[in-house]
């Protein structure tokens, strides 16, 4: 039954959306270092704390490495912790990202996607978060500012249920600095959706204990006579947590819909996939532009659909296979490059399809690096080029094509 909801629309940019979502999630510790294009997010949060609108400790750190170290420490003593960063900041955090995931701490990080130097560039692509793919974090990408608000709130639900940190990624400038309508939820509803954080282990001086001590390769008996996991068992449990997080992510999306009326019970977004023979795959805001490209191609009589990737880790292999079952051609656009190989999302799609009955051709295009504008018409043209290439060969090329001037 449809519930009557009063909408509370505000025209805000992506950074404001993330800041409000963190505030409504009642984060208790914010540790961040400003970096373009994330800066307005940290400024807004520090203002919320300063004005008393957010009862949190704002720790102004000297680096992103310390920001994540503070979030890790805060989380381990039972606080809900938040940070945001971009590009070089995320790269500088790399060691502590592993630490947060390895210690199974439900920290949420907003990654405002930006290119990485050299050469210097402050504009958007997704190389920064893709480079952190293997740190054990759940990664969710947003297409617009409403999704930033909603995903960030869901991120704490997910993280605190599976004890895995969540990175909420959104495109720098394209979303972070662009205002659009966002329905801002009621605080009471967010409180109903998001119960207080219950840590799995709490470090407390009143009850001293060791945590994350040197762990040997094999399981061993502790001083209390119990058998403890070796390093590899702990790594297995992290992998298992991500493998099993799909259900939690879907459940968090379903319950979000019940309270807020926006449905996130999905690992990715589908547009006209029911009859699509050609599927365009894209992640982040590009997945919206791709819908416009599909409109153009549909007008020319081509059966084109869009798969907008949302959850990148864990990668939803079987869901993707199901969505691509009718596709004869899959055109994957990546705003990142795994040098010497191909776009990271293209590799995922190929890997998901291996050994299934789907025998589609796959074409990969690298686009939009360092803020290069990507127009719907260019996505449509590339798709038509991919269709034409099928006449020459259906074999999937080793390397992607780049939409650039070389």
């Amino acid at each position: 039954m449809a519930v009557q909801r009063k909408s509370n629309m505000h025209i805000i940019d992506g950074n404001q959306s993330a800041a409000i979502a963190a505030k409504m999630s009642r984060v208790q510790v914010v540790a961040a270092y400003p970096i373009t294009p994330q800066t307005p997010l940290t400024e807004q949060l520090s203002q919320f704390v300063e004005q008393g609108e957010l009862k949190a400790e704002y720790v102004a750190v000297e680096s992103e490495h310390s920001a994540m170290a503070v979030c890790t420490s805060a989380s381990i003593v039972g606080a809900r912790a938040f940070t945001g960063t971009s590009s070089h900041g995320l790269a500088y955090m790399h060691e502590m990202l592993h630490w947060a995931a390895g210690a199974r701490l439900p920290i949420v990080l907003a990654c405002v996607n930006r290119a990485i130097g050299a050469p210097w560039n402050v504009l958007n692509d997704q190389q920064d978060s893709i480079s952190q793919r293997d740190t054990g974090w759940i990664q969710i990408y947003c297409r617009n500012n409403q999704e930033i608000m909603d995903t960030l709130i869901q991120a704490y639900r997910i993280a605190e249920q599976v004890y895995v940190p969540v990175m909420v990624c959104y495109d720098g400038y394209i979303l972070s600095h662009t205002e659009m309508p966002v329905d801002v939820p009621d605080q009471a509803d967010v409180d109903r959706y998001l119960p207080p954080y219950k840590p799995h282990t709490t470090l407390d001086p009143a009850n001293p204990k060791n945590y994350n001590l040197v762990t040997l390769a094999n399981p061993r008996i502790g001083v209390d006579g119990k058998l403890y996991h070796g390093y590899m068992e702990l790594r297995y449990l992290l992998q298992e947590a991500l493998q099993n997080s799909r259900e939690t992510i879907l459940q968090a999306g379903r319950e979000f819909n019940e309270i807020f009326g926006r449905d996130y019970a999905r690992m990715f977004w589908e547009d006209r996939s029911e009859d699509a023979e050609i599927t365009i795959v894209a992640m982040g805001s590009l997945a919206m532009e791709a819908i416009v490209a599909a409109d153009m191609l549909r007008e020319e009589g081509l059966k084109v659909g869009v798969l907008g990737l949302r959850v990148f880790r864990p990668f939803p292999k079987s869901d993707v296979v199901q969505a691509l079952r009718k596709s004869r051609l899959i055109v994957v656009f990546d705003k990142n490059i795994s040098y010497g190989s191909e776009g990271a999302t293209c590799s995922e799609i190929k890997s998901a399809l291996y050994g299934t009955y789907i025998n589609a051709s796959i074409r990969n295009f690298i686009v939009g690096l360092g803020g290069r504008d990507v127009k719907a018409r260019e996505l449509a043209e590339a798709t038509k080029k991919a269709i034409a290439s099928l006449k020459e060969t259906v074999i999937n090329p080793d390397y992607p094509e780049w939409i650039c001037q070389i």
Binding site: M9, I11, V122, L123, N124, D171, Y173, I174, L175, H177, T178, E179, M180, P181, S285, L286, M288, E289, I291, V292, G371, D373, V374, K375, A376
Partner: protein, 196 residues
Amino acid sequence: MAQKSSLSNQPLEIRWHGRGGQGAITAAKIIAQAAYVKGYKGVTAAPSFGAERRGAPVSASTRISTEPVLVVSQVENPEIVVVLDHTLLKYPDVTHGLDKHGWLVVNSPLSPKELGLKGEFSIATADATRICQDLGLIVAGLVIVNTAILGALIRATKIVDLPTLEKVMRERFSRDTVDINLAAVTKTYEITKLAK
């Protein structure tokens, strides 16, 4: 009350040109908000991406549509170009791609004809700088024309009406600055010269 009957069925793209510190980005945001209040479901407002410096040419964009806006790439063929500083007209980028059925709205003491521009688009001019100077709308030595030029924009294009704009500005501005800004809008609206 939303006046759905008067909404444009075609999505509108506006590109703003000014100099850093003139408030082109704020203007882009105000008109997006006003359009939303009027009933357009899809609005976006964005600065040009990257670094901006006081006094250097800057641009911004607004998209307005009856449907949610899915396009995130940069504006290529705007229906409307608004120029806050007429000395920027010497750069071809400023009118580049402007739709021939569209409007060029310029803060200038000259009439549309006197601008001597080639192009099939319609032109609106208003001396917003003089209006703001007379009103004393000056901050840190800079004449702030971004709200005034909205008067010329809505006079030429009728995207929103004056009461809708006023409503949004009253929400957005503090009590001690809103009246002078609204006066700038109304006065500029009145003196705007149109050439279709």
